[in-house]
């Protein structure tokens, strides 16, 4: 068991290594000054304090959506609704930030609670549709993303819009609804701390609570769980709703930490990134921050490279695709794995003699 999980880890590292090499080859092909460009890509995020902070801030929403997706994946269910849950969480958070009385501490907490509730409600809809009408959660959670988007924009536009700004943004939040700063310069906000707290919470939820046990067991074997007495539909529903809360708060963190107002004109894409993070972390909450920081690093590196060289940031999408392909391809390194297993079995056999 140990052997296979360390194998998974090595496999992911090798996949990342190969992708980075492929990325370099791509840069060689496309850039006039490939060494310069790739250096910015690889070292850029660490080269200045501002960039380190940028890269950490960029990773925060990925940690949340990675956790959200992991919870659902652990139950062997599918969820592409984190995107919409995050968006609607941001809208609900914005509403509370603007409309509620400005009381220190309480205000920001209320913002978070509203975001979580909004995320949960959004996640509950596909769950209810599934249990009442047997509608595919895949389709309905995707639909809910669009509902979140249009409904959210409508709401911001009609009730929260700052008429003095030149484009569709909400009023600026009062200070009581700002996520505090760890370091005032470069907007280094508490998001990363909240995210790490959530890593621990989700870990605790999955491995130390009844509902976590239920989620994991139905993920391992649904029929076994059913025969053992676990209420399978309830558990699936709970997993989706809990996941919705985690995705929802991510939206609130973004608006209260970085922008202090609502300014998204598009779905930000963090929900889909969460799927990548969960895949890389193998749905393990402890692995999620590492995977998210990795992805955040790539993204930031790509943006810096774009600013500093003739390469486009889109390259990172290609790299990402390589990593995912290699990590999910069962056959990748499987002969090697088989040989490792054979060696271990033979050794064990000899020891038993």
């Amino acid at each position: 068991m140990k052997k296979t999980s360390s194998f998974e880890f090595i496999r992911i590292l090798v996949a990342i290594g190969i992708s980075l090499i492929l990325g370099f080859l791509l840069t060689l092909l496309l850039s006039k000054d490939p060494i310069h460009a790739y250096k910015y890509f690889l070292y850029g995020p660490l080269s200045k304090t501002r960039r380190i902070i940028e890269f950490i801030n960029n990773s925060v929403p990925l940690i949340f959506t990675g956790l959200a997706v992991s919870i659902v994946f652990k139950a062997e269910q599918f969820n592409i609704g984190a995107e919409g849950q995050l968006f609607i969480g941001a809208v609900a958070g914005t509403a509370v930030a603007i409309l509620f009385p400005h009381i220190q501490i309480l205000h920001i907490i209320l913002v978070f609670i509203a975001a979580m509730i909004a995320g949960m409600l959004w996640a509950a809809v596909p769950g209810i549709l599934k249990s009442k009408l047997n509608a595919s959660e895949l389709v309905s959670s995707l639909m809910m993303n669009y509902v979140a988007f249009y409904l959210g924009l409508y709401f911001v536009n009609y009730y929260l819009r700052d008429k003095n700004a030149g484009f569709l943004v909400s009023y600026k939040f009062p200070k009581t609804a700002w996520l505090p700063y760890l370091y005032r310069r470069y907007h280094f906000h508490y998001g990363i701390i909240v995210a790490l707290v959530f890593v621990v919470l989700v870990w605790y939820l999955l491995y130390r609570t009844k509902i976590g046990y239920e989620i994991r067991m139905i993920g391992y074997n649904l029929k076994f769980s059913e025969a053992g007495g676990i209420n399978v539909p309830n558990t699936i529903f709970s997993a989706q709703v809990i996941s919705g809360a985690v995705a929802g708060i991510a939206g609130a963190i973004e608006v209260t930490g970085l922008y202090h107002r609502f300014l998204w004109q598009n779905l930000p894409g963090y929900g889909f990134d969460g799927i990548i993070v969960a895949l890389l972390a193998r749905n393990n909450p402890i692995g999620v921050p590492f995977a998210a920081l990795f992805l955040g690093y790539l993204r930031t590196g790509a943006r810096i490279m774009e600013r500093q060289s003739d390469m486009s940031a889109e390259m990172v999408t290609v790299l990402q695709a390589f990593v995912i392909l290699l990590v999910t391809a069962q056959a990748f390194l499987s002969t090697w794995k088989q040989r490792m297993i054979e060696k271990a079995s033979r050794k064990e056999e000899e020891e038993n003699e």
């Binding site: 068991m1 609570t209 976590g212 046990y213 067991m217 074997n221 769980s225 053992g228 007495g229 079995s345």
Partner: protein, 518 residues
């Protein structure tokens, strides 16, 4: 000396999960013999034969066929060489006719069209040639297991098999069907075929085998001519010690009725009625057996009793409480334990650890729950270690995932859970199917212990030995009905029971009503 038709040398097979199923096996078969490949479940017999048939690639080792070294990369290669295999689980298409199944993949054509007439003719001819007659025009789904097996054999013969491998062919047959199969096998040998016959039933080996090879734990454990060895010798080779699968069991002392089942009816959507008014009762301190060929409604009945399937009508009372249509959780909380038929599907979560598997019915109750929401992993671990020891589960510790265990040890995990819930009713469905003798003996004895503790036990088993050995009272199911009831098993023979199982014999309704006691 004559050249062997088949020789497998030094075969090693390590599965992707790390299980070393063959550890350097040598296997030699002479032309024209019936060679019994013997071994406990999990010994590696099926693996060895799958390698021969090209279904699994050996990790290392060589195969010689008729003296020549061969490489068998797929069943296609095996068939071309003249090797045929009938698997433990049949691979027929139920909705097609017998003839269509037999010619599948080599359909006779008139022009470009499939010719039914030719298929019927071919089927009839080959059946007559080998004395294995089958009804060419019937659909496979309507035929009994014995006939399906013949179809499988004919399929391989039509493809030119000279060496025929049968993987536990008698496991699903009644005694009568077994006899017919043996007659057919003898006839095949007289026509020059060679047969490899996998089994762990020693009496059968004595009856038709010429030579045996015994595997134990993935290694050779002996080779002999059948006439030179006794059943005891063979059994010692198989398990490496003397085993006496005799269960020490005193007469039952039944108390009050625990389970009362009345008039269960069930028709699966789009099918014929599967359960036609099943009634019986089980008292504390007794084992009620349900015998029958698999597929006569036992599975559905048990699923209805355990809340996994919704029946149409009827009543299921446990200690007076109505539980028809209740959820599995409600039923378990009413003091019912359930050893499911298919342990990998319902008995365990293979990827979860042993200790987590051991609490699926009680993680939410003290001492395993902590407060309203949490579980106490320390208590779960202690419980795991304790039960691993108590039930002799072979594992380094209770945090090992269940998938790393052998079949017998996996089943021990299931019974360790179900026998420690202090249930008033234990429903055991095929509790020892496909596991080694040691584990079988252990589980059967524990089942009797549970009875003596005062539990009511409902035992479903397709293994005649098992139901006859363990049951205090017995019912026989055939086509969704109870066709026989025995309030004592004294003097009941397997032959007699076989007649009920095949639907040849049936008790009068008044007799069957006695299955309900009060």
């Amino acid at each position: 000396m004559e050249t062997p038709i088949l020789e497998m040398r030094d075969i090693v097979k390590i599965y992707p999960n790390g299980v070393m199923a063959n550890k350097g096996v040598n296997f030699k078969v002479m032309p024209g013999e019936i060679h019994a490949l013997l071994g406990e479940n999990g010994a590696g017999k099926t693996t060895l034969m799958n390698i021969l048939f090209g279904l699994q690639a050996p990790t290392s080792g060589e195969i010689f066929y008729k003296g020549k070294k061969v490489k068998i990369a797929s069943p296609h290669d095996a068939i071309r060489l003249g090797i045929g295999m009938v698997h433990q689980h049949f691979m027929l298409v139920p909705s097609l006719t017998v003839a269509e199944n037999i010619v599948l993949g080599m359909e006779p054509k008139r022009g470009v069209f499939f010719s039914k007439e030719d298929a019927y003719r071919i089927t009839k001819e080959i059946g007559e040639k080998y004395g294995l007659e089958v009804p060419p025009k019937e659909r496979v789904q309507d035929l009994p297991v014995g006939i399906r097996q013949r179809i499988e054999i004919l399929k391989t013969l039509l493809r030119g098999a000279e060496l025929l491998v049968l993987d536990e062919p008698t496991a699903v047959l009644t005694p009568q069907e077994t006899e017919e199969l043996f007659d057919a096998l003898k006839k095949l040998v007289s026509q020059g075929k060679t047969i490899i016959f996998i089994t762990h039933k020693l009496r059968e080996v004595k009856e038709i085998g010429d030579r045996i090879t015994v595997l134990r734990n993935g290694k050779n454990a002996g080779e002999a001519l059948v006439k030179d060895v006794t059943e005891e010798d063979m059994s010692r080779m198989m398990v490496g010690r003397d085993v006496e699968l005799i269960i020490h069991k005193t007469p039952s002392k039944p108390g009050e009725v625990i389970l009362h089942v009345e008039n269960i009816e069930y028709t699966p959507p789009g099918h014929n009625k599967l359960l036609k008014g099943i009634s019986f009762s089980v008292r504390e301190g007794e084992i009620l057996g349900i015998a029958g060929v698999e597929g006569n409604g036992q599975r559905e009945l048990i699923e209805i009793l355990t809340g996994l399937r919704e029946g149409d009508s009827g009543s299921v009372k446990v200690r007076g409480k109505e539980l028809f249509g209740a959820t599995p959780r409600e039923i378990r909380l009413a003091s019912v334990a359930h050893i499911p038929e298919d342990r990998m599907a319902r008995g365990v979560a293979a990827l979860a650890s042993i200790e987590e598997n051991l609490v699926v019915d009680r993680y939410f109750l003290p001492p395993f729950s902590k407060g309203k929401f949490s579980i106490d992993v320390k208590k779960i671990h202690e419980n795991g270690e304790k039960l691993v020891k108590e039930f002799g589960i072979k594992a380094k510790s209770s945090v090992v995932p269940v998938e790393m265990l052998s079949g017998g040890n996996i089943q021990k995990v299931v019974v360790a859970r179900e026998f420690t819930s202090n249930a008033k009713l234990i429903i055991a469905n095929q509790p020892t199917r496909g596991i080694d003798v040691g584990a079988t003996e252990f589980i059967r004895n524990r089942l009797v212990d549970e009875r003596d503790r005062g539990a009511a036990v409902l035992l479903v088993s397709a293994d005649l030995m098992e139901v006859m050995q363990l049951s205090d009272r017995l019912i026989v199911m055939y086509e969704g009905e109870i066709v026989g009831y025995f309030d004592s098993l004294d003097g009941l023979t397997e032959q007699e029971l076989g007649k009920y199982m095949l639907g040849i014999k049936k008790d009068a309704p008044e007799k069957i009503k006695e299955a309900v006691v009060s």
